[in-house]
């Protein structure tokens, strides 16, 4: 369904032919195989990955406002990208050409989110209170945001535009190779999540109870944070900081399934995340038009009213 929508309209029948490589239209086959299929896969990975990492953060921090980015993951990625795009001008000349390539942005974003996360983990090992980690993540976010604004003050209009474009988020720029890397790291993150399901359910009682039930609190906390950063970090690196999905999908899922049991929530968030992302992507394509809207705007435009509507309808927060 998602695959069939795009600036070139291709009949459904031909899509299957194109996927199988038996289509008569070579250009259609090219569009499907190298553009729309990877994009649909990216949407599934991004939606499910961000949704699951949001769920992890909300349970770990016992806070319905938490999302995958509260640990400063997205601000770290933004900082990395900002340094590359906006800082490129400072180095000037040939060097900037190398820096401008797409891979350098991916690497910078990964490195940025990884370093911020490392800092948060380091502090987390010293601080026992989970809430404090939340605040620390937000503080790191503020610091990086400040650095980014200082950098943008000194950069040219084109650089600024490029940075802002990255900030819009994009599902469509991934080749199969990049997708494979994303998929591998994503799988590790997901496996860690599945391994933490029991710990997540125990954490529903609060930390003292969890400890009295034999949970190794420190270890579980590390695994959950690591899973989140792997999922959210790589997704941000490849697709840009995609807003809202991580925060909203767990809420939408809780409202629909009316449960807090992670044995149900994790797979449900996974599926709903993927579906919502595919829908958002289809809308962003603006069917039958040549424009593609920034995915970041669509996720919020579509998602926010859904969450508001669900909350109003249920008249209470399910958490």
């Amino acid at each position: 369904m998602n695959i069939s929508l795009g600036s070139v309209s291709i009949p459904i029948q031909d899509i299957f032919h194109s996927i199988l490589g038996t289509s008569e239209h070579e250009s259609w086959q090219y569009i499907i195989q190298n553009y729309r299929l990877p994009k649909a896969f990216t949407a599934i990975l991004v939606g499910s990955g961000l949704g699951v990492s949001g769920l992890l953060m909300q349970t770990l921090f016992r806070n319905p406002l938490a999302g995958p980015f509260v640990l400063g993951i997205s601000s770290g990625a933004s900082l990395g990208v900002a340094l590359v795009i906006l800082g490129a001008g400072l180095f000037g000349g040939a060097f900037s050409v190398i820096l401008m390539s797409k891979w350098s942005i991916v690497i910078a974003a990964s490195l940025g989110s990884f370093l911020v996360l490392l800092a948060v983990l380091l502090v987390a090992s010293k601080v026992r209170d989970t809430m404090a980690i939340l605040i620390i993540g937000l503080m790191f976010g503020s610091i990086t945001a400040a650095v980014v604004s200082v950098l943008s003050y000194f950069s040219s209009a084109e650089q600024l535009q490029q940075y802002i474009f990255w900030g819009f988020g994009s599902l469509g720029n991934l080749s199969w190779n990049e997708l494979l890397i994303l998929f591998c790291i994503y799988t590790i993150g997901l496996l860690l999540t599945v391994a933490s399901i029991k710990a997540l359910n125990t954490l529903l009682l609060g930390e003292n109870y969890a400890k009295s039930l034999g949970l190794n609190l420190k270890q579980s906390r590390y695994i959950i944070i690591l899973a989140t950063s792997l999922l959210a970090g790589t997704i941000t690196a490849f697709a840009g900081p995609i807003a809202f999905i991580g925060l909203a999908i767990p809420h939408i899922t809780r409202q629909i399934f009316n449960t807090s049991n992670h044995k149900i929530l994790v797979p449900a968030v996974f599926i709903i995340g993927a579906i919502v992302m595919l829908i958002c992507d289809s809308i962003a394509q603006l069917p039958t038009s040549d424009y593609t809207l920034p995915i970041n705007a669509i996720t919020s435009l579509i998602g926010a009213p859904i969450v508001v509507w669900l909350l109003v309808r249920q008249r209470k927060m399910v958490f």
């Binding site: 003292n208 009295s212 958490f319």
Partner: protein, 264 residues
């Protein structure tokens, strides 16, 4: 080991409790020597701020003792790993539940966590234990309700059932009767007494319901400013321990009725 110490579930040796920070050590109580016998209901009473919660937190390994030792089933508390401890001691705390969107059954089932596999699936034994604790606490009718639909008294029963499902020798409850009306206070404490009789578990709870505790407990631990004394309620009354609990200006203990009365 002598014959009596075999029946001890928990003993403290010259235990000193309190808080340490970089600047100073705050000792809340020291020289605590209490013994909890198997199958008994023990009430812990004392004035506000005397350190009841701190003592319970220390006994349940949430916080470290300053000095001395806590011995649980003949083994020092510090030698237990989290998972080992979870099979010997369960807790009912004053902590708010993070999520009340669990059904009563799901919440009680969480008590089986120390015994379940990596993903937390319930075996037949687990289910049998859960149903048993649901029946013992008369929760059968509420089984499928969500926790946010419950009254405080019902929720407290659910938390007790959860601790029961954890199937431990010792259950420690921190002020299980706060926020409850007179009937439910009596109900919960009576339930605890029945549980010790039925299951031979040892239950230690802190409470401000001194008169109820005197009537129901096998032994009581009384904390006052000078010391921590434990004995049977009758002996404690004879020794006049309850008179030392509070400042003497407002209320006094009436040994005849086992109640506190306002001084006229």
């Amino acid at each position: 080991m002598t014959e009596t110490s075999k029946h001890m579930v928990l003993e403290t040796h010259d235990l000193s409790i309190g808080y340490t920070s970089k600047k100073a050590t705050t000792v809340i109580a020291n020289q605590i020597n209490i013994k909890l016998k198997k199958g008994q209901l023990i009430g812990l009473v004392g004035a506000n701020g005397i350190g009841k919660s701190t003592l319970l937190r220390t006994l349940s390994s949430i916080q470290q003792p300053l000095e001395g030792d806590v011995v649980l089933n003949g083994k020092s508390l510090s030698d237990y790993s989290n998972i080992q401890l979870s099979k010997v001691m369960s807790l009912v705390l004053t902590d708010q539940l993070m999520s009340k969107n669990l059904s009563v059954f799901e919440l009680i089932a969480l008590g089986r966590q120390p015994y379940t596999n990596w993903v937390g699936n319930l075996s037949d034994t687990d289910k049998a234990v859960i149903h048993n604790s649901i029946e013992k606490t008369n929760l059968s009718e509420l089984k499928h309700r969500k926790c946010y639909e419950l009254s405080d008294g019902q929720l407290q029963k659910v938390m007790i059932a959860r601790a029961l499902a954890q199937d431990t020798d010792l259950i420690i409850l921190d002020e299980p009767t706060t926020h409850l009306d007179m009937y439910h206070k009596a109900y919960i404490l009576k339930l605890l007494q029945e549980l010790t009789k039925d299951t031979n578990k040892t239950i230690l709870f802190s409470s401000h319901e001194i008169d109820l505790a005197i009537q129901l407990c096998d032994e009581m631990v009384v904390m006052n400013k000078e010391s921590v004394i434990s004995d049977t309620p009758c002996n404690l009354i004879t020794q006049g321990v309850f008179e030392t609990l509070f400042p003497e200006d407002l209320i006094g203990f009436d040994a005849q009725t086992g109640r506190f009365r306002i001084k006229k």
